[in-house]
């Protein structure tokens, strides 16, 4: 070893110096790298570090509650507890499973299946086991904190809607904000996963109801475990909303429509307040509040009767004879109708074609018919004649004035506009010339005319109010915060509030004729309401042509007409106007009975609250000499009235909704006096008596299971 020859040699200093430089160079490179990160990139990396460690945990704001016009609760929130399982916290998950399954009332295999589905995610990630757990399940979890540390619960506020689909279309439902909605600028400040109103009032008033979510900044580690809290930004609860809906009227409307396919809307014509809105078939929005099952959802959206469609504002159907009211006003205002007489032989020839009157099906005819009879007997021939004389341009002009073919601007999402045909309309949409004969079908509300129930009732209520039309709304305008008022104006454009001047005499002619409709002389005598001034107009709109129906044979006989009824009470300046749409209902007077139920419920409530149920009794004069004096109100619903009947003086009148004979309408404070000359025009046949306002509600021929073959146009 010592003998190694080169032991004393030295490595040249140069090489060691080179090594020193290499070392220095390496360290300089490292320092420059540190400089780049710690000086130049410090701000960026600090932000990234903060984003890493601070997590915003949202504090969800409870949505505003929804009340009816009297402050009765319609939609509430309820605390709902969801149970999670955190695998990381489990001591021995496998042995715990039977106990967990038992405590949460789950099937053991089902529980294992849930765990298997989540087995690939990190162990600290909570697995949702069961939503909306019951108090005894909560108690189970609380009692087993030590044995089952893996179980966690989270409380959140859920929506509680009325059961059985009560007012479901009106109220709507909430759900997670969808991808498409996030692209919409209206939903710009929403995050994926946020709960948002998806339909009805919940959607249109989402900005009011939703409140503002708060947040809690928590410090977390890389596993998401909370290490501490930084600060809390409390949530601002959503504002409660008072609807114009009257729960009693709504209930009556729900009951009246029952399981029938269609819609009922009741409004207060003075203000445009929607008092009730029902659409059938309905759905249970509570199913949407938790996560709706895929099968249930598919059933809802593929149902041919469109349960999710709010037919009150979205069904676009031919108005049938209800359109005659608009046409009658047009004819009277244009000076054509007042003295017009048509001779109905069960039909008539117009433009070289023979058109039938509906009465021909009964092998009868109306004979000589004037405007009034034309309305209460709904004589087609009279209106063919009037339509021919008016021409399509005038009809369209007046229909437009009353809002046909336009949205009303109701504060609900996706209102449909309907159609009012005219030569320009046809040219614009079909590039075809208008044929003069087409006016004949338009004259009786058929052809291309389509309306929505809300549109129709706004028009009819407006006519009954002497030409004052209001924008229907479901939320009181003063309930909308000032900063959102313009937003809502822009959001729901439509014909809104309008006044169409109508000659008082014409007003009287039409409204009196409408009142005749619900007498034995009219088309809806069965819907007569004793002691209530109930006027209206029936409509039975064909959904397919008679020829087509005949060709179908037995199947064709099932294709019944759309049964419409528009009703007001009292006949002039009404306090309530109701539209009933019964698809496949067959005859308008069937719908009239449904409307009568709603009107009766409303009037009874007003009388009850004003404590003057009795006034009616003395106020109603004998109709004819032969009829029994003072027809008693229906004893079933108005016992107090019967009790006090003889003593109560006729004046003063607080309630306007009264049954009045056409000849004696002076006690209606809001109505003007009707000249005797007009009243004398339509004497009732002697010897007739009026039926009390009770009647069978369902005709055996029309059950709810009737399939709808109507050509329902869905608003896009």
């Amino acid at each position: 070893m010592a003998g190694a020859p080169n032991r004393d040699e030295k490595i040249p200093t140069l090489k060691l110096t080179v090594m020193q430089y290499v070392i220095a160079l390496v360290l300089v490179v490292l320092v420059s790298g540190l400089w780049r990160l710690q000086v130049l990139g410090a701000q960026n990396y600090r932000a990234l570090a903060e984003a890493n460690r601070i997590r915003k945990v949202p504090i969800l704001a409870p949505r505003g509650k929804i009340f009816d016009r009297d402050g009765r609760l319609l939609v509430d929130n309820y605390p709902s507890v969801t149970c999670f399982l955190v695998p990381e916290q489990a001591r021995d998950l496998d042995t715990d499973i039977p106990l967990i399954a038992q405590g949460l009332h789950m099937d053991e295999t089902q529980l294992r299946a849930v765990l298997r589905r989540f087995q690939h995610q990190p162990k600290y990630q909570p697995i949702p086991l069961q939503q909306d757990i019951t108090p005894d399940e909560q108690a189970f979890i609380a009692a087993h904190r030590n044995e089952l540390p893996e179980l966690e619960t989270i409380e959140e506020q859920r929506r509680l809607y009325p059961s059985n689909g009560f007012a479901a279309h009106l109220i709507g439902y909430v759900g997670e904000v969808s991808e498409e909605m996030l692209d919409d600028p209206r939903y710009a400040f929403y995050q994926p996963g946020d709960v948002v109103g998806r339909s009805g009032v919940e959607e249109s008033y989402d900005p009011v109801l939703r409140g503002q979510d708060g947040s809690r900044d928590v410090i977390v580690d890389s596993h998401g475990r909370e290490l501490g809290a930084l600060g809390i930004e409390p949530s601002v609860p959503g504002k409660s909303l008072k609807l114009t809906i009257d729960l009693d009227v709504q209930e009556a409307a729900e009951k009246a429509l029952g399981p029938r396919n269609g819609a009922i809307v009741a409004i207060d014509p003075h203000t445009g307040d929607v008092l009730a809105m029902v659409s059938r078939p309905t759905f249970d929005p509570n199913e949407f509040a938790i996560r709706i099952h895929r099968n249930d959802w598919n059933k809802l959206i593929t149902d041919p009767e469109h349960p999710l469609l709010n037919k009150a504002i979205q069904a676009q159907l031919a108005p049938g004879s209800t359109f005659k009211i608009i046409e009658a006003i047009a004819g009277l205002q244009e000076g054509i109708a007042e003295n017009l007489k048509a001779d109905c032989h069960g039909g008539g020839v117009f433009y070289g074609h023979y058109y039938k009157c509906w009465i021909s099906a009964r092998h009868q005819s109306h004979g000589i018919t004037d405007i009034s009879k034309g309305i209460f007997q709904s004589c087609d021939v009279f209106f063919y004649t009037l339509g021919e004389k008016l021409g399509i341009d005038k009809i369209a002009e007046w229909a437009h004035k009353f809002g046909i073919g336009q949205k009303t601007g109701i504060d609900l999402p996706n209102e449909a506009a309907g159609t009012m045909p005219s030569p320009e309309w046809k040219m614009r949409n079909y590039h075809q010339k208008w044929y003069a004969g087409e006016v004949i079908s338009v004259a009786i509300g058929q052809g291309a005319v389509t309306v929505t129930p809300i549109q129709l009732i706004r028009a009819i209520a407006g006519i009954a109010s002497g030409g004052v039309l209001k924008r229907p709304h479901v939320v009181f305008p003063n309930e909308i915060p000032p900063d959102l008022q313009q937003y809502y104006k822009d959001q729901f454009p439509g014909s809104g509030d309008q006044t169409v001047p109508i000659d008082p005499a014409n007003w009287q002619i039409v409204t009196d004729a409408m009142a005749q409709v619900t007498t034995f002389a009219g088309t809806a005598g069965m819907a007569h309401l004793d002691g209530i001034d109930f006027a209206g107009k029936t409509g039975s709109a064909q959904t397919v042509s008679n020829e087509y129906k005949k060709n179908l044979g037995a199947a064709g006989s099932k294709l019944l007409d759309t049964a419409w009824f528009v009703g007001v009470s009292p006949r002039r300046n009404p306090d309530i106007a109701v539209v009933v749409l019964w698809q496949n209902g067959g005859e308008g007077y069937f719908s009239a009975r449904l409307a009568a139920q709603v009107i009766e419920a409303y009037v009874n409530k007003q009388r009850r609250t004003a404590n003057n149920l009795h006034i009616v009794v003395n106020a109603v004069p004998p109709l004819t000499g032969t009829s029994p004096a003072a027809p008693a109100p229906a004893p079933k619903s108005k016992p107090t009235a019967a009790l006090h009947s003889p003593k109560i003086p006729a004046q003063p009148m607080e309630m306007a909704a009264l049954w009045t004979a056409p000849a004696n309408a002076t006690h209606n404070l809001r109505a003007r006096k009707i000249p005797a000359s007009i009243a004398a025009k339509f004497p009732l046949p002697p010897g007739t008596t009026l039926q009390a306002g009770s009647f069978p509600l369902t005709s055996p021929a029309h059950t709810a299971s009737d399939e709808s073959h109507s050509e329902l146009r869905v608003a896009k």
Partner: protein
């Protein structure tokens, strides 16, 4: 041959630098493990360091020429133990690197191989000194290093295997390789990389080697460690967030902040100022070592010290480079900073030999 060893000649300056780095290391390990289940690793590290200092003093008393004499035997034992690891080693985190000894001690031969290689190569090049290197000499040297290197790679421990390379390169450089030979070797190595890339390396190793270039491409997978390390270093800024206040370190975002990524944790908590201070300590330490190499009494002494220098600067460059995102993630610890007994013992034993070489400089 008589020797007069005196602790007066002991390199106290070098010791001061080592001590300073050790203290910083323990404090940072304490901070990085404060809220984890590794909470007492700082105390364990102190024990390792005490053991390290003790072995350093012991080894500084043993004449390094004895080590040179037994180096060949040691080399043979090393190869055997490396094969033994592959055969009977304990598997930890996917790698078979450890041999369990009686008494619960785990022993990682690959760290010792480094030390033996330094000595063996010093002896080899010393014997060649005085003449130009032939290709045969070069291949012999390469063979001596590549055999244990491949065995370690097989464990697989790419990081430690790579640390053998600087010993070889340093030896060749100081041993007198000509510029022409170096160029040819470089070209050959460059060409050899291509088949090695496709045949030898496992896919995860390749991913680790490349992911540092685009850490954001796969922020949850391979890029995660680098990304978190960059955030930790960057968020430290100039002055740092303060000991035990680094959010990346304390929130467990930074992977293994007490071993491979300890420098990132240190940078986060002590900023650029602290980082430069540590790198300055390393610089002074290495310069002191080079100075000792220069003043060594004989050639093998110089070779040994320069071998140690080469390993240290390589590990510093690769580890810190990894932490700041300019080097791939290879799992090479930072000498004198990272937690771990084998790493500490290697460093201190190497320094013990250096001390002996320095103390022997006036002998003869």
């Amino acid at each position: 041959m008589r020797r007069f060893l005196s602790f007066r000649d002991f390199d106290w300056t070098l010791l001061a630098f080592v001590l300073a780095l050790s203290v910083i290391s323990v404090l940072e390990i304490y901070s990085a493990t404060l809220h984890t289940k590794f909470v007492h690793f700082d105390e364990k590290q102190v024990l390792w360091l005490v053991g390290g200092f003790a072995s350093m003093f012991v080894l500084s008393l043993i004449d390094y020429h004895i080590l040179l004499d037994i180096a060949v035997w040691a080399y043979g034992i090393c190869l055997v133990s490396l094969v033994a690891v592959l055969a009977v080693g304990t598997k930890v985190m996917g790698g078979r690197r450890w041999i369990r000894l009686p008494g619960g001690i785990h022993f990682q031969p690959s760290e010792w191989v480094k030390l033996v290689l330094i000595i063996v190569l010093a002896r080899f090049f010393t014997n060649l000194s005085g003449r130009d290197l032939t290709w045969k000499d070069i291949f012999k040297a390469i063979f001596m290093v590549v055999v244990p290197m491949l065995l370690v790679m097989k464990q697989p421990d790419l990081g430690t295997a790579l640390t053998y390379a600087p010993v070889l390169l340093c030896g060749l450089f100081l041993g007198g390789i000509s510029f022409r030979q170096a160029s040819i070797l470089f070209l050959a190595a460059a060409l050899a990389i291509v088949p090695a890339w496709y045949k030898v390396l496992k896919p995860y190793q390749k991913q680790r080697l490349t992911s540092f270039m685009q850490p954001d491409a796969d922020p949850r997978g391979n890029g995660y460690q680098i990304r978190q390390s960059l955030i930790a270093v960057g968020s430290g800024g100039i002055w740092g967030q303060g000991a035990t206040h680094g959010t990346q370190t304390q929130g467990d975002f930074l992977p293994i902040p007490y071993t491979d990524f300890i420098f990132a944790a240190f940078c986060e908590e002590h900023g650029l100022v602290g980082a430069i201070f540590v790198l300055l300590l390393y610089f002074l330490l290495l310069m002191r070592l080079v100075q000792n190499a220069q003043t060594a009494a004989d050639l093998p002494g110089t070779f040994i010290i320069m071998g140690v220098v080469a390993v240290l600067i390589f590990q510093i460059a690769v580890n810190v480079g990894m932490v700041i995102g300019i080097m791939p993630v290879t799992g090479i610890p930072l000498p004198l900073m990272s937690y771990g007994g084998s790493s500490v013992l290697f460093t201190f034993l190497a320094l013990g030999i250096v001390m002996n070489i320095r103390m022997s400089r006036f002998v003869n």
